[in-house]
């Protein structure tokens, strides 16, 4: 078991708390940078998808996991980012500028969607965001002069001047850099007053308000950041998949995104990454398993949806803290061996809450 000898307050706000962190995260970055030479072209493409979904997951984690606002329409922000990027790059805008515009436009849309969040909570917010998702998907399909409608839209490779990022390796490295920047940004927010205000709103709005936290401002801010990250992910997604159509941003995509953060582990940054890995690896695993299953099951339509549903139910019932929660338990089991107790992570039932107001 590691014993942390704290001698300064700076240790508590450092991103890497001890040598273990420094060693393992450095190793991870080295491996990720070396990935183009370690993986096949197909493997690298899958890893790129993991990074893209992780960026979107970070945004949704900030909103759902840290601010407690659930969005069942996040694919809409992904779509806004993707289409903005596609249209602007086609118009000849330099790639970084188009990326920035995609983020800003998604954030602006996020602010608009965030407005009902000031009035409705919980399941009602979910319904409001879901309705918004349908509206945006409809706009993608009908606004044919810009989005190409159901016929789809080709996306050009990202380019700055004459230099173009058109091969898999350089695009992967671009995604890697943006993922690291996004992760550091989110971690910075979480260790500063802004992130703490989000957590306060998640755990008790009434109390957050009497601590002087402007609920409307911070909820809107959370929606904006979350949408901006989804927009960034969407822009990269557009370049990765090279062809956009409205059905990529429908309710199923939104549910996949929500599934990702819930299975990854709500309220942890690691969860966004673990969830993204799950979301990309799972269809591959199901495909691989098909060969071993009886034909009636293996070839059944909707197998993927059924497995996802089952996994979600299992997680909600047995591991509400998600994959990251499971990892924490395993790590604790080893670090305190043989003193692990079953109840170590059991949360006490909360005491009676104050009458909720408004």
């Amino acid at each position: 078991m590691r014993f942390l000898f704290k001698t300064s307050y700076a240790q508590d706000i450092a991103l890497a708390r001890h040598e273990g962190h420094r060693f393992w995260y450095s190793l991870l970055v080295v491996l990720l940078v070396a990935a183009p030479w370690l993986l096949s072209e197909y493997g690298l493409a899958q890893l790129t998808f993991v990074l893209i979904y992780a960026i979107v997951g970070l945004g949704l984690m900030l909103l759902a996991g840290f601010t407690g606002l659930f969005s069942i329409g996040h694919a809409a922000f992904l779509g806004v980012g993707a289409y903005t990027e596609a249209v602007l790059v086609a118009a000849g805008l330099p790639f970084p500028l188009a990326l920035l515009c995609a983020m800003l436009l998604a954030a602006a849309v996020g602010v608009v969607v965030g407005l009902p969040a000031l009035r409705v909570k919980g399941i009602y917010l979910g319904i409001a965001t879901m309705a918004f998702g349908f509206v945006v998907a409809e706009v993608f399909a009908r606004w044919e002069s810009v989005t190409g409608g159901n016929a789809g839209l080709q996306v050009k490779a990202p380019a700055i001047g004459t230099w173009s990022v058109d091969d898999g390796v350089s695009f992967y490295l671009l995604c890697l850099v943006l993922t690291i920047v996004a992760t550091l940004g989110v971690l910075n927010l979480l260790r500063s007053p802004t992130g703490r205000a989000f957590v306060a709103i998640r755990d008790s709005e009434i109390s957050a308000q009497s601590m002087g936290i402007h609920l409307a401002r911070y909820k809107t801010l959370s929606f904006a950041i979350s949408a901006a990250l989804a927009g960034l992910g969407g822009a990269l997604y557009a370049h990765m998949i090279k062809f956009l159509s409205p059905d990529q941003f429908d309710i199923v995509q939104s549910i996949d995104l929500l599934l990702m953060v819930v299975i990854g582990g709500l309220g942890s940054v690691h969860g966004a990454f673990l969830g993204a890995i799950f979301l990309i690896v799972m269809p591959q695993a199901i495909n691989a398993a098909k060969d071993f299953l009886p034909e009636a099951i293996g070839m059944a339509p909707g197998l993927k949806a059924a497995v996802y549903g089952l996994v979600l139910i299992v997680f909600v019932l047995f591991e509400p803290m998600g994959l990251y929660g499971r990892w924490l338990k395993i790590r604790t089991w080893f670090s305190v061996f043989p003193f692990y107790r079953r109840g170590m992570f059991k949360r006490q039932k909360s005491f009676q809450k104050s009458e909720r107001l408004r």
């Binding site: 007053p193 109390s207 009497s210 002087g212 936290i213 949360r347 809450k353």
Partner: protein, 273 residues
């Protein structure tokens, strides 16, 4: 108790004829009182008397139907709910409202929110200024941790702490705001005898060492008479009596509100023919 003596000084909090009606229910009906700087002022009264509603009016969770609340020269009824904290009013809740899935330290740091000096972009890039501010906030919080002897629980999650400790953490979080006025809603509810005694000492120290004015709602008359300078008794939204603890406890209206009048008792007595 000396601090209560200066009734001629400008009051810190001045409540004038406030009323709040929920439909036909007059939860608070024309209540007026002044809280002088540096005193411990207690609201007592039977359940449903409107004590917590008065608190919720001061912290702007409810808007009064009529009346004025002035704090340090500022009209509170015109402030938005989150602005009240910025003026220097901190509060605790009857049923603890802590941030359950955060550590004690994080809870206390959230208490420093009104003193934040960094903006969103400073936070996002964690600029040197943001780092310096974070360390400064930590220093402030550590003073409160020392004061309330919470060092042992610093890194524990709230969800795993016993009730008595949570109560102290909530008090600590309010103190982190460096308030001028501290509203305590039943500080001793759910505490055992020793913990209640500890709470009495802390309220005493908060007033004496930190110079914070305290307005509290409390049922434990032992605690009330130990720490209060003045007591206001309420019943059914109206003021019954105001004065020092002994006077108010002896007031016939207060006795009647708590125990029922003598004729009430006789009406309860079973008639034997």
């Amino acid at each position: 108790m000396s601090a209560a003596a200066g009734t001629t000084a400008a009051p810190l909090l001045s409540v004038r004829e406030i009323s709040v009606h929920f439909g036909g229910v007059r939860a608070v009906d024309g209540v007026s009182f002044d809280v002088q700087p540096g005193e411990v002022f207690t609201l007592i009264g039977p359940n449903g008397a409107g004590k917590t509603t008065v608190f919720n009016l001061i912290s702007r969770i409810y808007a009064p139907t009529s009346g004025r609340i002035e704090f340090g020269g500022v009209e509170l009824t015109r402030c938005a709910p989150h602005e009240v904290a910025g003026l220097g009013v901190a509060r605790t809740f009857q049923n603890i409202e802590l941030f359950e899935h955060a550590s004690v330290l994080q809870n206390l740091l959230i208490g420093r929110h009104t003193h934040r000096r960094t903006g969103f972009f400073g936070d996002l890039f964690f600029t040197p200024a943001a780092r310096a501010a974070a360390l400064q906030e930590r220093e402030e919080v550590e003073q409160v941790i020392d004061f309330l002897e919470l060092a042992h629980y610093r890194d524990s999650l709230i969800a795993g702490l016993p009730y008595g400790v949570r109560k102290v953490v909530e008090l600590a979080r309010a103190l982190c705001m460096k308030p001028k006025l501290l509203l305590l809603d039943e500080p001793s509810s759910g505490l055992n005898v020793e913990e209640t005694e500890g709470m009495a000492w802390w309220i005493h120290d908060i007033r004496r060492e930190l110079g914070i004015t305290v307005l509290m709602v409390e049922h434990d008359m032992g605690l009330v008479s130990k720490v209060s300078d003045r007591v206001l008794a309420m019943n059914q939204g109206q003021v019954l009596a105001l004065g020092d603890p002994a006077t108010v406890q002896a007031h016939p209206g207060v006795v009647e509100a708590y125990l029922g009048g003598s004729q009430d008792l006789s009406s309860l007595r079973r008639e034997r023919a």
